[in-house]
């Protein structure tokens, strides 16, 4: 099973087994990883599931669609070139080892 690694702002890492198809947001909530809020339930309405994706994985992700792009304009922490909404990242075998950095705040 692929793994996803969450890195909190203080550098601490949590590694989670990620069933293919699960979203990075859902995996964080289901495993008690703090730092992702995701209050709209993955509906592209809240931007509180913001993550910074490690550069080496960025190109393996499906491109940002319009709704995500607009929602990324309202993240609590600055949007960077590697910003994504984790509810839109579905795990695949290709993404094994995916490293996402969590922002200081989500709200």
């Amino acid at each position: 099973m692929p793994k996803v690694i969450y890195q909190s702002p203080d550098g601490a890492r949590t590694e989670i087994d990620a069933p293919v198809g699960a979203t990075v947001r859902n995996l964080a909530l289901a495993n008690g990883v703090d730092g992702i809020v995701g209050e709209c339930g993955g509906e592209l309405m809240c931007a509180s599931c913001h993550v910074y994706v490690d550069e080496q994985f960025l190109e393996r992700l499906p491109p940002v669609q319009e709704e995500e792009d607009e929602m990324l304009e309202s993240t609590a922490c600055e949007r960077l070139s590697n910003s994504r909404l984790s509810c839109q990242i579905k795990m695949t075998d290709e993404l094994d080892g995916l490293l996402v950095r969590l922002p200081e705040e989500q709200l």
Partner: protein, 410 residues
């Protein structure tokens, strides 16, 4: 056994759960007890009329937190326990099971119950309502077997279910007393757009039409009889005519209620040891000219957070910008602000293409924006409203008006 919680929350729904979560993430270290009448883990409602009903989400997908969360974060979840009384003088709540739980601060987050349709036949088998997970699962079961579905009420939930049922190939009839769908809460251009969209998908919309009687056969619903005297066949009748806030505990405890538990800007009742939030609370909003109840995930979550912040020492008025969404088939409606009572709606974009926003004004002031297929407008509108930036209908009517650019500059 006498339990005790520094904070006791009644109602383990969206608002109650959020309160507990936010207390813990704010570093609150004292005891938190979350009491919920429904069995199982707290869950979110939006998928109940969307993905769960369509079968693309399962019950496990709607849990707000896994079971392990409650242990690891020391939130004592009493699921399947109903609070039957609040004894304010003793600062405790009584459970149906007979136990009592003492509180230092009590948060009422009891949500709402669905308004019942009072007409002959409303007790027949096959007449359903949709609020809880259990009800959603029953509705899904019944839809699978049904051919014809009647929906009473063209509000958000009625129309969301209509779209799902239509996509399942059912014949769908929707009965609405008003002359437009969602008339209570959206502007006319948006309401008309959705009426056209649902009709195009083959939903039969009946406006100015109430249900007088549900006709049964052998105890099962078979048809509805409308106020015009028509009879329309139906194997399932969904009643979706709005909610009644669950303010009974507060009322019996002598707290002021007025269609919802009355709270101030800080979400406190007149008893400083009791707050009320979410669908059960009527509060003064800077976005409305009289106290309101807002039935939305945003409001439930933001109010839960606000109360958790106050209890943790960060005491402020609640002023969050309201936002909401409703998925109806392929279409998503996004609303920022409160557009009820708009006198003027300026439409930008192109409804024919399914991409437009209705900018709603009253007294020359922007109340809110309803968007379809224009997520950028929605995000911009939230920012404008949060900053209380001004925008006049005249500005919005200019041919080259661009809401995103305007919000960026504001």
């Amino acid at each position: 056994m006498l339990r005790h919680g520094a904070v006791v929350i009644v109602g383990a729904g969206q608002a109650g759960l959020q309160t507990a979560v936010s207390l813990r993430s704010a570093g609150f270290e004292r005891s938190v007890v979350l009491i919920g009448a429904e069995p199982g883990l707290p869950y979110e409602h939006p998928p109940l009329s969307k993905a769960l009903l369509a079968g693309t989400a399962q019950p496990k997908d709607v849990a707000l937190r896994p079971e392990s969360y409650f242990d690891s974060h020391e939130v004592e979840l009493l699921a399947g326990e109903r609070v039957v009384a609040v004894e304010r003088d003793m600062r405790r709540v009584l459970l149906e099971s007979g136990a009592a739980v003492r509180y230092e601060h009590l948060v009422l987050a009891t949500g709402a119950v669905n308004r019942r349709l009072e007409c002959p036949g409303c007790e027949l088998d096959g007449v359903l309502s949709l609020r809880t997970l259990a009800q959603a699962l029953e509705l899904r079961e019944r839809l699978l077997d049904a051919e014809r579905v009647a929906i009473v009420g063209a509000g958000f939930i009625g129309l969301e279910v209509a779209a799902v049922a239509r996509a399942m190939g059912k014949q769908v009839d929707v009965f609405e007393l008003a002359e437009l769908p969602m008339g209570r809460v959206v502007s006319e251009p948006t309401a008309r757009f959705f009426a056209r969209a649902h009709r195009r998908e083959g939903v039969h919309l009946h406006f100015n039409s109430g249900v007088r009687r549900i006709v049964g056969d052998g105890g099962r619903a078979r048809a509805v009889e409308t106020s015009d005297g028509d009879t329309v066949l139906a194997d399932v009748v969904l009643v979706a005519i709005g909610i009644v806030p669950d303010d009974e505990l507060a009322a019996v405890a002598g707290l002021p209620v007025a269609g919802g538990v009355r709270v101030d800007q800080r979400l406190l009742t007149p008893d400083p040891a009791i707050s009320a939030i979410g669908d059960c609370a009527r509060f003064p909003s800077p976005f409305a000219d009289r106290p309101v109840i807002l039935e939305s995930v945003q409001n439930a979550c933001d109010q839960g957070r606000a109360v958790a912040a106050r209890v943790s020492g960060d005491d402020r008025a609640y002023t969050a910008v309201p936002w909401f969404w409703s998925d109806q088939g392929q279409l998503r409606l996004q609303i920022a602000g409160l557009t009820v009572g708009a006198q003027d709606a300026v439409v930008i974009g192109d409804p024919e293409q399914g991409r437009f926003s209705a900018l709603c004004f009253a007294g020359g002031r922007l109340l809110g924006v309803e968007s379809v297929g224009r997520p950028g407008d929605h995000v911009a509108a939230r920012k404008l409203l949060a900053r209380r930036a001004s925008l006049s209908p005249e500005q919005a009517r200019r041919a080259d008006f661009d809401l995103k650019a305007y919000a960026r500059a504001a």
